[in-house]
């Protein structure tokens, strides 16, 4: 377990460094926080830094997901840190990390956490960032509610921790928390939702106010909690409420560790142990883990799960359990039902609204890929493209900038994006495929029309691919996207090498995926998904056929153009052989007309290719991506199911032990059950989240495609119209010539 937890941290350090600026702010905040237990401070700082880092880069409506993920980890870490005692630290850190990872993995919770942290630590800064985020999020949609609620709930909690930290608060807090927890299943969802709603509506300001208040007194927490519980989301909030509950539980544990939860056996110790030093490192780790989590949710999940399992044993044994596992598990178990049921609908609606908003927007970023250029010679040659970005978004340093990228960079970007966002159910726009044949031709340096055609096709496809990426509100926020657009030098993307070891591994992975896809028989509870999947599959089939037909049309059109040219030549010859002057003239005119028509056919072939065939090819690629997102959803479902099966097993073991009257092992079995319950909820939440995202993404995809299709087909028809007009002109000009034959 430790090893797993450690893994997650390593990557993060960089992010932490980046966050340094934020950390300063945190420090300021810390100072603000007078109460200031060292532990808390450190914890708070770390969270802040975490928060800041995510927020600052994304300052604007950064990806909700990121924020969420970042947020939760930090909050968790804080709590955990606070709650965990130094001794336990190692374990705690691991646990924390694991927890964090788990939390981060689930976006919603993370959001909440994030907010919470922000509100807590940096009243102003965090709040501001939260506000900004929330504002953005609100525009974006689904995440916001979660964040707000999270923030509200979090804020109180945090405040409690920071301000009230001391025992008294803890006690109070704990009680409320406990109550809440108890209530959570039923009441929680509603309450949180209301709070969330309010927060959202108010955006930053509310949050701010709320946060300060909470800080000021421990009451706020209760109030906040109470509010959230009352109004909170009927449905979606459930998730939030869970989070909040979790937070609460955590905070409670942290504060009063012991009292609130039976699990947090050694609250006091934990606190003391928490010692700033230990907490800090942990926090950093957690932060890292968070960042990682944000990027690759899947990884986080897996890690989280692993860690959790590891942790859970430990935690059950010791304080950690109390701090995080207990909180999370308890909260999760409590809130779990509510969350699960509620989150999807609300999130969905919001998502849809967001979508609409997005669609209305004109693109803020225009990307063009130009000037394909061959670099190098022989088989090591590659094509480089100029990628120019024109934008009005403040997140970019300039309004207009250009970088040079090679084809594998585009693929590398896709790999990164799909690794990070694919598991969340995002439809990551796919780039054009590698084409060994086409590229070899280019490499060999044949300057024939087919290789020029190939390069142009690819250039267009790359441009559309990038444009799609930046049009996606979440993907645009990805640091890798920005790096790709802005940074002068990119590290070489290796994994795209066709025959590299990585490529081979990927192939194997894909093969196993395919096998598991066949073996996993998901009994689909959601008719919508079933219907969509069928639709997508049949559309895919049809479009593939269509594409083949259009390609053959292009081939025939080119043939026609060639044959027309040949005929034009021989008609001219015939004209020259003709001894009747008028007829001879008419024949050479005919030759000219046919020459022009040949050009028309050629143009038409190009239209067929670029406005029609490529449109369909893009569509097929995108349909593949859509199916990929469905697969990710099924994977999430599978994880959930597996965890459920596992839980069932554990319960059976417990029953057996109970019957066999083996108390020594019984405790362990119970712990395991708790752990697995937590995991089941976690996975179920993940599944709901992925489902919601996929749904949103598919709707977005359909809308955009529809627009695009209409535009492209209209364009194609217009081009056809033009060539018909030309044709009329040519033949009408020829007519008098033919009539003049005497």
């Amino acid at each position: 377990m430790a090893s797993s937890s450690e893994r997650s941290p390593p990557p993060f350090p960089d992010t932490e460094d980046q966050d340094v600026l934020d950390s300063e702010e945190v420090g300021g905040r810390d100072s603000d926080e007078d109460d200031g237990e060292e532990l808390f401070m450190s914890a708070s700082n770390t969270p802040l830094t975490k928060q800041d880092t995510p927020t600052s880069p994304d300052s604007q409506a950064s990806d909700l997901m990121e924020d969420l993920s970042v947020g939760p980890p930090s909050s968790q870490t804080e709590k955990s840190a606070a709650s965990s005692s130094p001794e336990e630290f190692v374990d705690l850190t691991n646990n924390l990390e694991s927890r964090v990872a788990a939390e981060s993995s689930s976006p919603e919770p993370s959001d909440e956490f994030f907010d919470i942290l922000g509100s807590e630590t940096q009243k102003v800064e965090v709040e501001a960032s939260v506000k900004a985020d929330s504002g953005e999020a609100s525009s974006g949609g689904p995440d916001l509610p979660g964040e707000k609620t999270g923030s509200s709930s979090a804020a109180p909690i945090i405040n409690l921790d920071n301000d009230v930290q001391p025992p008294r608060i803890g006690g109070k807090v704990i009680d409320p928390l406990a109550q809440i927890l108890g209530d959570t299943p039923a009441a929680d969802p509603k309450k949180p939702s209301s709070a969330v709603v309010d927060l959202f509506e108010d955006d930053g300001s509310d949050i701010f106010t709320g946060a300060p208040q909470s800080k000021a007194s421990s009451r706020p927490e209760k109030g906040l909690f109470g509010e959230p519980d009352e109004d909170l989301f009927g449905g979606p909030l459930g998730a939030m409420s869970k989070k909040t509950t979790e937070n609460e539980g955590k905070s409670g544990t942290a504060k009063a560790a012991g009292p609130t939860f039976s699990k947090p056996t050694e609250p006091a110790d934990i606190f003391t142990e928490e010692a700033a030093a230990t907490t800090v490192p942990r926090t950093s780790n957690t932060v890292n883990s968070k960042a990682n989590g944000v990027h690759s949710e899947e990884d986080l999940f897996t890690e989280a799960t692993v860690e959790l399992s590891l942790d859970s044993p430990r935690s059950s044994r010791k304080n950690e359990e109390t701090s995080k596992p207990s909180a999370s598990s308890s909260s999760s178990s409590l809130s779990a039902p509510a969350r699960q049921a509620k989150p999807p609908p609300a999130a969905l609606e919001e998502l849809e609204d967001e979508e609409e908003a997005e669609l209305e927007d004109k693109f803020d970023v225009l990307v063009s890929v130009k000037d394909p250029e061959k670099v190098g010679d022989g088989m090591n040659a590659y094509m480089a493209y100029k990628v120019s970005t024109e934008t009005t978004l403040p997140m970019f340093r300039n309004k207009l900038f250009t970088v040079r990228r090679r084809f594998s960079d585009f693929l590398g970007l896709y790999e990164k994006l799909s690794e990070k966002h694919g598991p969340n159910g995002l439809i990551v726009p796919p780039p054009p495929e590698k084409s060994i044949l086409g590229m070899t031709k280019v490499k060999v340096g044949k300057e024939d029309s087919s290789s020029a055609d190939f390069v142009e096709r690819r250039r267009g496809a790359l441009e559309r691919y990038l444009q799609r990426v930046v049009n996606h509100p979440l993907l645009l926020q990805d640091p890798d996207v920005r790096e790709f657009l802005e940074k002068d030098e990119l590290p070489r993307a290796v994994s795209t090498q066709t025959l590299s070891g990585a490529g081979f591994l990927k192939m194997i992975n894909k093969a196993t995926d395919a096998v598991s896809k066949m073996t996993i028989k998901m009994n689909e509870s959601d008719a919508w998904f079933e219907e969509k999947l069928q639709e997508v599959e049949s559309a895919d089939q049809h479009f593939r056929k269509l594409h083949a037909l259009v390609e053959s049309l292009v081939v025939h059109r080119k043939e026609l153009s060639l044959n027309t040219a040949n005929f034009a030549k021989s008609a001219a010859m015939l004209g020259s052989a003709e001894d009747n002057t008028a007829l001879s003239r008419a024949l050479s005119q005919l030759a000219e007309v046919e020459d022009k028509i040949e050009q028309l056919h050629q143009d038409q072939a190009a239209y067929d290719t670029f406005s029609f065939a490529e449109l369909i090819a893009d569509y097929i690629r995108l349909l593949g991506a859509v199916r990929g997102s469905f697969d990710h959803r099924i994977k999430a479902w599978q994880r959930w199911q597996d965890a459920q099966a596992m839980l069932q097993k554990k319960r059976e073991t417990e029953a057996k032990l109970l019957w066999a009257n083996k108390p020594d092992k019984l405790q362990q079995a119970k712990d395991e059950i708790v752990e697995w319950e937590a995991r089941v909820t976690q996975f179920e939440r993940d599944f709901e989240r992925v489902s919601a995202t996929v749904r949103k993404e598919v709707l977005r995809f359909e809308k955009q495609r529809t627009k695009n299709f209409k535009r492209q087909i209209t364009k194609y028809l217009e081009l056809l119209l033009q060539s018909q007009q030309q044709l009329i002109k040519y033949w009408e000009a020829f007519l008098p010539e033919a009539k003049a034959i005497a």
Partner: protein
Amino acid sequence: FQFIGIEHVVKTLRSVSVDLNNDASLLIDIPDALCERDKVKFTVHTKTTLSSFQKPEFSVPRQHEDFIWLHDTLVETEDYAGLIIPPAPPKPDFESPREKMHKLGEGEATMTKEEYTKMKQELEAEYLAVFKKTVQVHEVFLQRLSSHPVLSKDRNFQIFLEYDQDLSVRRKNAKEMFGGFFKNMVKSADEVLIAGVKEVDDFFEQEKTFLLDYFSKIKEATAKAEKMTRSHKNIADDYIRLSATLNSLSAEESTNYYIIKFCLKLFQNFLRVCLKKVEGRVASDEELKLTELLRYYMRDIQAAKDLLYRRARALADYENSNKALDKARLKGKDVSQAEEHQKRCLQKFDTLSESGKKELTNFKARRVVAFRKNLVEMAELEVKHAKNNMTLLQGCIELLSGN
């Protein structure tokens, strides 16, 4: 569509050969034909005021081989050596549509039902068009004979038209086929030999070079035009398939693609109505107006070349007879016989030259008129189709942008 197409074929083919002297005294047409396996039985219907026929109106069944027989006997008649014998109609070729039909049957499993039906319809139409074209080519052959002042009086021609029993022309056996082949070889060799004979008449000298040159050019142009029309047809076929696929796509039972479906449906309609038909028409019009014209004149020029050959042969004969006469005179033997022969050769040559000149001039005028007619018609049709296309496209675009 099929019927329109066929009417179209009929009308067009008649214009391939333009009759310069329209004579109502002998009217021939082929109102009906029956396709049995490889054989096509044509019903040749004649309406005449000429007293050389027993009845004013009659119909007889004839096969492709009978036409060939008639053509061959005309070519072999000495008296007609100075005439351009109308080219024999090409053998009916149903192979390509049949083969396509076969392929379609094999590929039935791979396409949708609708697509299959459409393709089948299309092939049936094509088959019918080929059939009609065959009939027309045979009709045109007879009509050219009937409008020719000399050939219309030919006894064999009249028998061909009137004899109401099966002509039971013997199919050429292997030996005869070989003989024909051999004869062709000899002829070609002979052509090379007499090419050395000095031409006495500038007109023929010019005609000869012209026809040789023209023939090679028109042959090439015909081949190219055929290729062009074929690729046009391919495109029309692509459109059919595209249209069928789009149709099945838009018929797909899915609720959320309705706008895409709408676009596709429109597009599909456009393809079906406009591109498939129009493109198909463009192809068939080009085929008929241009390719068929070129093809016909290619054969006609071959006939004219044959005439030149016969004349050149006669000239060579005359020169040979001159030499023979000189020899005879030298030897003082058979002089009168040689004189007689030489005289006959000269006479034959003169007649040939005279009628040949007339025929060639006639041919030239006929060719120019036919080209004019076809080219004008083709240009008009192209414009018409393009305009149709345009209207349809505009309609589609308006619908799309309006929605």
